[in-house]
Symmetry: none
Subunit: 415 residues, 2 copies
């Protein structure tokens, strides 16, 4: 089976200057990956003829398919269209169909069709024109010696619509692409190298048509399995068999699969168990509540929470005993146990969870240095606590506390 290689070229000074993040490249990569096209490289260049011609030449030598976005607007700094005409050595001609589409697009919105908009119907003679339903920039498809160049507008929603409606189907048809199957196993509470050590034997025994990649992020590691081949059902079954066989080793770290986030997984778990939750946050300062309420429909399992940032509020509002804080301090196992139990009662929730610690960069002591954080889970029957010893970085400590509390909830409910 011939591997189809692709390069993505995003064009725009505003990307090179770092003024906007290029999300088109990621989106196109993921879409190509899904249809079994291998993205070999992704390149960003400015609105500059010389750089564009060089990038086109390099890409044509390397890959079968070039997808590009940007530089198609009506202003003078947009030069992708004439540069493509130069590269494919052909004339620029007025395309009547595009001209009518652009005219109709503006007139239907009551906007006059002016000279600079007319420019958008000038396209290279060699190109096939594909429709752009949501905008006015032309979409062009070039073929030369079995290789394909496609130029699309940089406006993300226009590009996405075009890719789905016409470009991807045409690519699949032109290259007769193979079937590809991905699954992602999502873990929490174990570092990449320790997970790798634990699943070493499993990894070594993976069949040759299934590839494994480790994708670490803050507090989490994703394992991606990729299978390529002709028989769709066989591939899906083969990947599932590998997931089944990793479970005895790694199940305690796995919170979900594919697109689900940790917060969504906790939400699903609480919903399934018919449990509600409330949070008392000191050092995490509302971040737990924010991440949980980012989940669509979180009101089904989230009761609410409190950030009693000062000791007097922990005592007077939340109901932590004054003596507990006097004797052990607010950053203590004793304090988070009371916080978790009191927030559970006050917010009328099945489960209470709490954090208290030194997020830093100030406030550390010899006994409780920056990064010392206590967390607790309470459900009326059991109370579980954990001491974290994290980093010097405030935001990282907040993020890791959030993940650790959710993992404590997950483990308390499932293990």
């Amino acid at each position: 089976m011939k591997e189809i290689l692709a390069e993505i070229i995003t064009i725009g000074d505003e990307i090179l200057y770092g003024q906007i993040t290029d999300t088109n490249a990621q989106w196109m990569s993921a879409e190509l990956d899904q249809i079994g096209v291998n993205v070999l490289r992704s390149t960003t260049i400015g609105d500059n003829e010389k750089q564009m011609l060089t990038a086109f030449r390099e890409a044509e030598a390397r890959v079968d398919l070039v997808l590009m976005t940007g530089g198609l607007g009506p202003t003078n700094d947009d030069i992708t269209m004439p540069t493509l005409a130069k590269y494919f050595d052909c004339a620029i001609v007025q395309n009547l169909e595009v001209h009518e589409h652009v005219r109709h697009f503006f007139e239907s919105q009551g906007i006059p069709f002016n000279e600079s908009n007319k420019k958008q119907s000038l396209v290279p003679e060699n190109a096939k024109i594909l429709p752009n339903e949501l905008g006015t920039a032309p979409v062009t498809w070039f073929e030369r010696n079995g290789k394909i160049f496609v130029s699309m507008p940089g406006v993300p929603y226009e590009m996405k619509n075009i890719l789905h409606a016409s470009v991807l189907p045409k690519i699949q048809e032109y290259f007769n692409t193979p079937f590809i199957h991905h699954r992602i196993i999502k873990t929490v509470g174990i570092g990449e190298s320790f997970l790798a050590e634990k699943i070493k034997d499993w990894e070594e025994n993976l069949p040759s048509n299934i590839a494994l990649a480790y994708l670490p992020s803050v507090g989490q590691v994703k394992l991606r399995l990729t299978a390529k081949g002709d028989n769709e059902n066989e591939l899906i079954e083969a990947v599932q068999a590998q997931i089944d066989s990793i479970l005895p080793i790694a199940q305690k770290y796995i919170f979900g699969y594919d697109k689900i986030s940790l917060e969504e997984a906790i939400g699903d778990l609480l919903t399934k168990r018919n449990k509600s939750i409330a949070f008392a946050e000191s050092c995490s300062g509302g971040y737990l509540q924010h991440k949980i309420t980012q989940v669509r429909g979180s009101s089904k399992f989230f009761q609410g929470g409190i950030v009693p940032y000062h000791n007097e509020l922990k005592i007077n509002l939340l109901g932590v005993k004054k003596e507990t804080i006097e004797q052990y301090g607010a950053v203590s196992e004793e304090c988070v146990i009371e916080m978790a139990n009191r927030v559970r009662e006050k917010f009328n929730a099945d489960i209470g969870a709490a954090s208290s610690g030194v997020a830093g960069p100030d406030g550390g002591t010899e006994e409780k240095p920056v990064g010392t954080i206590w967390i607790a889970y309470a459900d009326g029957k059991q109370t579980v606590t954990k001491k974290l010893q994290l980093t010097q970085n405030r935001m990282l400590n907040i993020e890791l506390t959030e993940i650790s509390v959710l993992n404590l909830v997950r483990k308390s409910l499932t293990l």
Copy 2:
């Protein structure tokens, strides 16, 4: 003055497969732009020796400086280090300093130092090693024929720390970059095109050696003034004169300058006025409290807050009148006024602020569609409210609510 050209290379199959968005490239581009280095191209390649060697060769031919991130982890798919050694034709050696740093990094967190972690102290013999305070991946700096290659970890907070602490200063020193003076004027509460219209005359009268850029982000617009030249003091004075002359037109939208965040500016304002604040959040779900507690030292002005996600908690815990919610609903001016006043009293703060609305994507009605959000400010003397009509996007609505509440606090305290 010689122009310094740079290329950014981000390495990682997970980027090429479209599984994560590469934000490092944008961030590095913006930082290089700040010191007057011109980014010519940004390239993403996979963890693949052949592709890396090709990209290195092409970049070395084109530019003076290559900044790369990624591929430095302890697992077998991470091959940036040996590939750099091959490219620069040198041996890989164990670096004792890095070895001790990695050992200490793990042991101080109570994590055993295993074989795969030892791999991180193997570095190319030709490279200078720069410190990585927040992680274990080595940072390497190569020089050849007046050109520089720098390899950094792909974990964004590690990379950012390294870039600021050592890489950018070393680049400025090595290339003797020209003096560039940037000031950023930060505004909130006005859209880009409206701000542009208001300051049109001012913009047209800017001297030719001062360039203006509009940098819009969610709810905020930054104006960046850039002056390039030889005489540092003259440039600083010329830019300051322009800032002074924009104040009569735009002061009511300006919350600060340069690196300060909106949250830090509100913190400074509260500290200066010797006022404390507490938040009652419904639709913003803890995001206000999270953003405020991201500010170092926020315990000086932040008392705490509550997320009473359900009506019964708004009534029983926070003290909103049952009749208010029955008569007007939780998403109402009457409800947020009581929320702001009650949270102020309960949390013993000088100022209370509140949000209640339909963040979406579900829960909208004809009368109160998704994006309808009420916010309030109360300080015991005055109560100020505002109705927002935002978007269909849940996270965007949460972000815009947070910014709008802080802007309401700012305006109530200063205007």
